[in-house]
Symmetry: C2
Subunit: 428 residues, 2 copies
């Protein structure tokens, strides 16, 4: 019986796993140096949790199932609802602000396409309990810090920043009803992904009055905060939102990442729960979906039965990022990093037992070591050593039987030295 993998999932053979680890290890390293601590939740939760606040797109892409007790469960399509649940459960004992990160495996029943799979990994960072947009700036800095660490520069990627508070204020200022806001966000979020004509048609469905629609279209063509100020006139809410964005850009300037960042009114985000500053990071080639996206979601904890506590965060998947890193040649030295330190070869099959003993000692001393199970000619064994990217080869030959000496061969330079086994181990 031959069995296939499921479409939209990935097999991580060792060379693929090295790339996945390169990304995930760097996510962890950058999270930690930015003061975040790691958490995780279960791979499945109650289905209802994702139907509550994740928005229609995610809710329609759930892998749902019933367990034996008749409970409706779903594989997690995102981790933010789990985060909200976990924080609410310990709201009285957890110190605030919380700076948490996670690298969850997520599943969405999407049609697989470039940069989008049915199973992926997503870096999440969140700051909970800080109203000031300094927290939003920190989230953006941490994201950019990671991208810079991979070798990407401001010529490669751009952070597009806007504010749901701002868009809400402007829409209300134009006379769009509060109840319509969420639907309008859904349409605005699609703007850059669909033809202008389709966009205008979709907008017509959620804003029937032509005059209001014209104003929304005009708003969408605004290019700078200054231009926006003229446009917003004396509307108090809009002014507040603009001032917050200005403050955010000042923080980003202090952090030294202004060259990466730009105000972009078209950024709205697809998820239903955003309430304030929102951002997305794009590869400048503009051929791919967003590398990451995030923003403020001040109501989610309360929506999940907890107190009203502000929160802001970001999610970055591994699929689009992986394409960008591959295209720019930034997966570096992966095979070298995965190599072993010592390969122990034996000149005669009768010496395999000595090799077994040496390898066990090396490993117990914390060194990456291996040997051939089959033995055979030294040439064959050295070939295996190369395949395992061994740094050095230890040869157990007649010098060992006669004088207890080992030959240590440097696999890069080819240099050899002979050394007493005892001395070799005492040097380690």
């Amino acid at each position: 019986m031959e069995i296939q993998s499921v479409k939209g999932t990935r097999d991580f053979y060792p060379e693929d796993m090295a790339k996945r680890n390169f990304i995930a290890d760097l996510w962890k390293q950058v999270s930690l140096r930015n003061g975040f601590v790691e958490y995780d939740g279960p791979i499945f939760e109650y289905l209802a949790m994702y139907q509550l606040k994740s928005g229609d797109e995610i809710a329609s892409q759930l892998f749902a199932f019933e367990d034996r007790g008749g409970r409706m469960l779903a594989i997690r399509p995102e981790i933010t609802p789990t985060l909200a649940r976990m924080v609410n459960q310990r709201i009285n004992t957890l110190p605030r602000p919380l700076k948490w990160f996670s690298v969850p495996r997520l599943c969405r029943a999407e049609r697989p396409q470039k940069g989008r799979l049915r199973e992926f990994f997503q870096w999440n960072i969140d700051i909970i309990g800080v109203d000031d947009c300094l927290a939003d700036a920190e989230v953006i800095f941490c994201s950019v810090d990671f991208l810079m660490q991979t070798g990407l520069t401001s010529s490669d990627v751009i952070v597009r920043i806007s504010s749901r508070k701002l868009i809400a204020a402007m829409l209300e200022y134009f006379g769009v009803e509060k109840e319509q806001l969420e639907k309008v966000y859904g349409v605005l979020d699609k703007k850059s992904k669909i033809p202008q004509e389709t966009f205008e048609k979709m907008l017509e469905e959620v804003i029937t009055e032509q005059a209001k629609r014209r104003k929304v279209l005009e708003l969408m063509s605004v290019n700078s905060l200054e231009q926006l100020e003229d446009f917003a006139g004396s509307d108090k809410n809009a002014k507040e939102a603009i001032d917050e964005l200005k403050k955010l850009f000042e923080y980003l300037n202090l952090m030294g990442i202004t060259e990466f960042c730009r105000f972009d009114i078209s950024i709205v985000r697809g998820l239903a729960y955003y309430t304030g500053i929102v951002f997305e990071i794009y590869d400048k080639s503009e051929q791919l979906r967003a590398i990451c996206g995030g923003g403020r979601y001040d109501n989610l904890l309360a929506d999940f039965g907890g107190p009203k506590i502000s929160a802001t965060g970001m999610g970055m998947g591994d699929c689009v990022l992986g394409i960008v890193l591959e295209e720019k040649g930034l997966f570096k030295n992966l095979s070298q990093k995965s190599g072993i330190e010592y390969f122990v070869a034996f000149a005669d099959d009768a010496l395999q037992n000595e090799a077994i003993k040496l390898v066990a000692r090396l490993r117990r001393a914390g060194l990456k070591a291996d040997f051939s199970y089959k033995g055979g000619s030294l040439g064959k064994q050295l070939k295996q050593a190369s395949m395992q990217s061994a740094g050095r080869c230890i040869i157990v030959g007649q010098e060992f039987t006669q004088k207890g000496e080992l030959i240590i061969k440097d696999m890069k330079t080819g240099n050899q030295e002979t050394i007493a086994a005892n001395e070799f181990f005492s040097r380690l």
Copy 2:
């Protein structure tokens, strides 16, 4: 709306995550030093894959679901079928022997109980393409190498080793039909977990003849390979299996782990696909299920549509292991490891901007650094520094405004030094 987590799953708050990472990081480290390379597969596969060879227990505990295309899928309850599928797919290009490891997240719809949850992590190591029991010895050595690395000794844990080939030979020698073998294995595997009376009743169901049953019971009381040799008489298959076990113990002796290992005829393993040497490692208190188990499965690749290639491996879950490490106090220095290196405090709110700049520089230099978003008194900020287990605190005060100097406070000793900011950064 208040939402709970699903019973039998775990939330990993940062302190729990630190323990999970302690285990997983060590699994990876020990795998690499034993010459294994990492792989992974998808979290779900076709349901049929797990109904084929995993055995009744696992097949009855699947989280199965139908996707939109009407395909029946299941969350993985183990990773060995995925391994077999992946190896078969590239059988002609992969070098052999393969030494692969993985740390998959797995789910089983079990009744949650001590050491057994519905979601867990399992370290898997496998060697593919080696007939000789040297590969089985390597798998056992690697498992023990990990346990020793956590701080466990041969006073804490024991490796119980047997052979399916041996049991098969003996059962056939007693006249048990080949078709019955799998059912008999299932009963024998339960022996140590159920009362003797229940065991005998179950045995009666699969071996109806009393004379054969008595022999099986006698076999189960054998304590050593020597005793077994007398018992097996001149049966060729039994002798072969016994010789293989003897050879295995010789290898384990060369590797220096004899004191951990014991022959134990009662080890059979629950999974259906084992064919040769099998083993389980137990905490010596005998209060818990096996810490890990493994063995040879020479037919699985062929069962999955590939060529007949021999394989042997091991799986170690994180639940029982976690209980053992907790009981023995072996989760060490976790909060210290998770701490930041520098906390930047500011003596005056007007200096927060300077702190923001310093922190960004520190992080870009690769250092774990953080600061207070709210500011407030220095005392308050130093308290936050302690909570984040900061190694050092940098104080930005009037010396900074006046002379560009920073105060560096060692949080352990309390010692302070004053240093020019430029000099501080050039020293990093």
